[in-house]
Symmetry: C2
Subunit: 547 residues, 2 copies
């Protein structure tokens, strides 16, 4: 069987636009004499449409687009994911389904049985589970297609009580087709491929995995579609992080143009590609795509953010603003300008000291004359910078990119309405150590991030001789502690800490993590790169008393 | 049977503190010679604990507190809600259950069958559904208690396919016990009582509804616990919006100290009570309760917010800041001071014009010399005020209360990092017309909100002669449009609009609602007062293309 994989990048809610994407790929598949073309899960709505599913007309409008695809399937078989409406199901009237069209007619549908409702997934909020787990016979292919929608293949990982793939195999499926919208985190493509190949080999059936690619708000989808033969060997793969289309002949895979195996890029390279895609799609899927503006402090976070923005949007759409203040070092502005030079982007300079002085007068009036207003006077510098960036945003239709990393955001080492302002927190799910990794990776071919920026000790430069290592434990300890707390969901008692003084520092990180939930709740969208990111995948109360 | 209702106010995660609340009520019940005392759903964790349920140790620690209650039940029967751990359930190992202790022993448990996963509820994220729907025999009471946990009684409303109450009745229950954590919105207490009384009468069984009271983050719980006899007549009720405890004799309800019927307070009075409770608990459940600070513009939103804060926290914990700027009217400062005088709170005045001038110089430098920077110069005034309020917050450990209403927040008539700053958006789920209602209600006995504030046309005062009615359609049209879109989930095509020019205005409101999702995502917590509030109950993509 000649099979086309259509790894497309739908935009949430763009029902007609997504239908056109599907039609174009059907057309290409037919041109390439493919007999079957497979698309991702919920490809007409884009994933995840969230509560748009409840908006009057939304599903009906999607069904209207879906119907037009019957005609488009003349002379070919098409498998895609779509939302079906089943009024008689209670209390949810929708299903997340796979739909098969063949030679101008709808052959049948199969609703997803396993509805993920954990981490970033809310599928039980919207859908009723499918009950039918039998293959669909497609005469034109002389095949019995076993439709397993995304999570339906994940029983080995999540330990569900039913296993749709086993049921499909037992009922005579000749192929497992797995249309998916499986979000990425660093390392997921390999994990997913190994799991699915094991399934193919366990059931001695070829397995076709076609995944959505692209960024939709906080979620990044890597694509990474592939075909496994019935012995669990990958016989064709599509690339990560880009729209892709190709055809493989299941009978003669060696004749296909697709690589048999794609090397899993190493973690940092994956991180870079994922973040670039996330920035690009967040901007370009908006109806009037804005430019980007970034506050360049001379530090590593803003430098890496700017580098990623340039990779995503090009030099013309990115501008930097250096905003030296009363406690800025000389090298901070120099480093910011060196960065802009390396990246080839515009940079402007604004001295914020006069504004700072004006606020100090107001503080004297409000709080009495003091030599040092402590945190208040540190935060105001950050808030002035935030307001200047937002002025550039207002005046020039640019979206501010926030530069804080996951380590800082976790312990609240950031100023709400200051350095946290923006539309997107690019590094908000990247630990400090990986920010360094991204910087070194950016410099592999040529110096993008100035060496001075990488080598100097991190500092917020909001007070004289301020360095992160005076205000915080070292980042190694922070990151090790946070991974246990966030990814590992440990509590204060089960946290593994070093002995001695470092132990108290580690416990303090844990307390700060909870105490700063209110800041994260008002943070811009965080692009998700880990299995547990700040955002919809981690839902914590703000006011609570559990240690 | 003598029955005690314990309408308590647990704090999320305060496992030992909540257990003490339970013990105290058991003690009171025993003193009053009650045979049975009933508590709300998940009373030891508080509701909703959200992802704390996934934190290592959390459920185990709660189970440890639960076990100690067996001993506390000497000589009495206790029914309460708790989280149970069932390792063998897959993929979720937890259940939301009712637990019965009697005379020192655990009699049995019943897991909740209907797990709400809509609006603000995520129970399928955490729990496996209960399968057993048989009453628990309690020899000491000579009764068969039919435990229906919160949603288990809501089949008539949500149209679930199973009806736990019918099954319990068919299996011989003598009483329906309904421990609940049923969040409030205006009008819900009456709706809930009518539904539950109908159930009691349908099954000819007495029904005991005991609800959590208090605010936990955005969710407000009204309590409103009551008992219906087997003919659907309310024979005892507890008050709304406060912790309460009382005893009723089911055989002789007329002998009880409880009112047979509590008048449903009218909508605006309910709104006021709910919001006051929400503010109070948000502040006082924090380990180091902060004071409050509010920017007082002389307008109605900030005036009503200040009034509610004073009702919640007392005059001493609330301070106001008037921040006149270049376009402020004279009456705005006068009205702010009159308000502070009426409420008896401190007020300070800061002239923000010097800061505004300093920013204008920076704008000239960044954008070239212009007479008017349009929206940029409007927003900067709001952001200066936000920064001043945050300085007061930093310096004096006060939490800023944001003052924007639901109408403004919907259409984005607000400045991100400006008037949206704060820890709590008190009126964020209150339409403009109800803000006026709250103001008039506040003035019923004596003038709290200055009449000038109520009578003058609303204005942001960020530009010369600026009035809301020049920038926006009139609020009646806005509110009518928004209710259809938000509560009614209509789309652009099904929206009912007036004829003529008002139609375009209404459609524009709809477009603004979607376009401003990014602002709301960074808004402070909105206290929920309606069936569909901004927050966890409404999950919309930021970037999407559905009309």
């Amino acid at each position: 069987m000649k099979l086309a994989l259509a790894q497309v990048n739908p935009t949430v809610g763009d029902l007609a636009g997504n239908r056109r994407l599907v039609e174009e790929s059907i057309h290409r598949a037919r041109e390439a004499r493919a007999e079957l073309v497979v698309f991702p899960e919920m490809v007409l709505t884009g994933y995840p449409p969230m509560d748009l599913l409840h908006r009057e007309g939304f599903v009906k409008d999607q069904l209207r687009e879906l119907e037009t695809l019957a005609k488009a399937s003349q002379g070919i078989t098409v498998v895609l994911g779509a939302v079906l409406s089943e009024e008689n199901l209670r209390p949810k009237g929708l299903q997340n389904a796979g739909v098969v069209f063949s030679d101008g007619k709808m052959i049948g549908t199969r609703a997803k049985s396993l509805l993920p409702t954990y981490d970033v997934f809310d599928e039980r909020r919207y859908f009723a589970a499918g009950e039918k787990r039998e293959p669909l016979h497609v005469p034109a292919l002389n095949a019995h297609l076993g439709l397993a929608i995304c999570e339906d293949t994940w029983t080995p990982h999540v330990e569900y009580q039913i296993d749709p793939v086993s049921e499909l195999a037992a009922a005579g499926a000749t192929h497992i087709i797995n249309p998916s919208a499986s979000p990425w985190h660093a390392g997921k493509p390999l994990q997913r491929r190994e799991m699915l190949c094991q399934i193919a080999s366990d059931h001695a059936l070829p397995l076709i995995f076609v995944n959505q690619v692209g960024g939709n708000d906080e979620l990044l989808f890597d694509g990474g579609s592939f075909v496994s033969d019935e012995r669990g060997r990958v016989i064709a793969t599509l690339p990560l992080f880009e729209s892709a289309f190709s055809v493989v002949d299941l009978a003669q895979p060696e004749m296909s143009a697709l690589p048999l195996e794609v090397e899993e890029p190493h973690r940092i390279a994956q991180l870079e590609s994922g973040l670039v895609l996330g920035i690009r799609d967040y901007f370009l899927k908006q109806n009037l795509p804005p430019g980007a503006v970034i506050g360049l402090s001379g530090g590593i976070d803003s430098a890496v953010t700017a580098h990623l923005a340039v990779e995503a949007l090009g030099t013309d759409r990115v501008t930097g603003v250096a905003m030296p203040g009363p406690f800025s070092s000389d090298h901070s502005v120099d480093d910011a300008f060196a960065l802009a030079h390396n990246l080839g982007i515009e940079i402007r300079k604004v001295n914020v000291s006069p504004l700072y002085e004006a606020y100090l007068e107001i503080f004297a009036n409000l709080f009495g004359d003091q030599d040092d207003y402590g945190l208040t006077q540190q935060n105001i510098q950050s808030r002035i910078r935030g307001a200047v960036l937002m002025a550039v945003s207002n005046q020039e239709n640019r979206l501010v990119l926030a530069t804080g990393n996951k380590s800082e955001l976790s312990v609240g080492y950031c100023t709400l309405y200051g350095d946290t302002v923006g539309g997107l927190a690019v590094l908000g799910d990247v630990y400090k150590r990986d920010v360094y990794g991204l910087a070194r990776h950016a410099n592999l071919k040529t110096e993008r991030i100035p060496i001075g920026t990488i080598d100097k000790p991190p500092s917020a430069e909001l007070a004289p001789d301020q360095f992160d290592h005076n205000d915080l434990p070292n980042y190694d300890l922070i990151d090790q502690t946070l991974e246990q707390l966030i990814e590992g969901e440990r509590n204060l008692e089960t946290l593994e800490t070093p002995e001695g003084s470092q132990r108290e520092a580690s416990l303090n990180v844990a307390r700060r993590l909870d105490r700063n939930e209110y800041k994260r709740r008002q943070s811009p969208l965080v692009l998700r790169t880990s299995p547990k990111a700040f955002g919809t995948g981690r839902r914590m109360p703000i006011v609570h008393r559990y240690p």
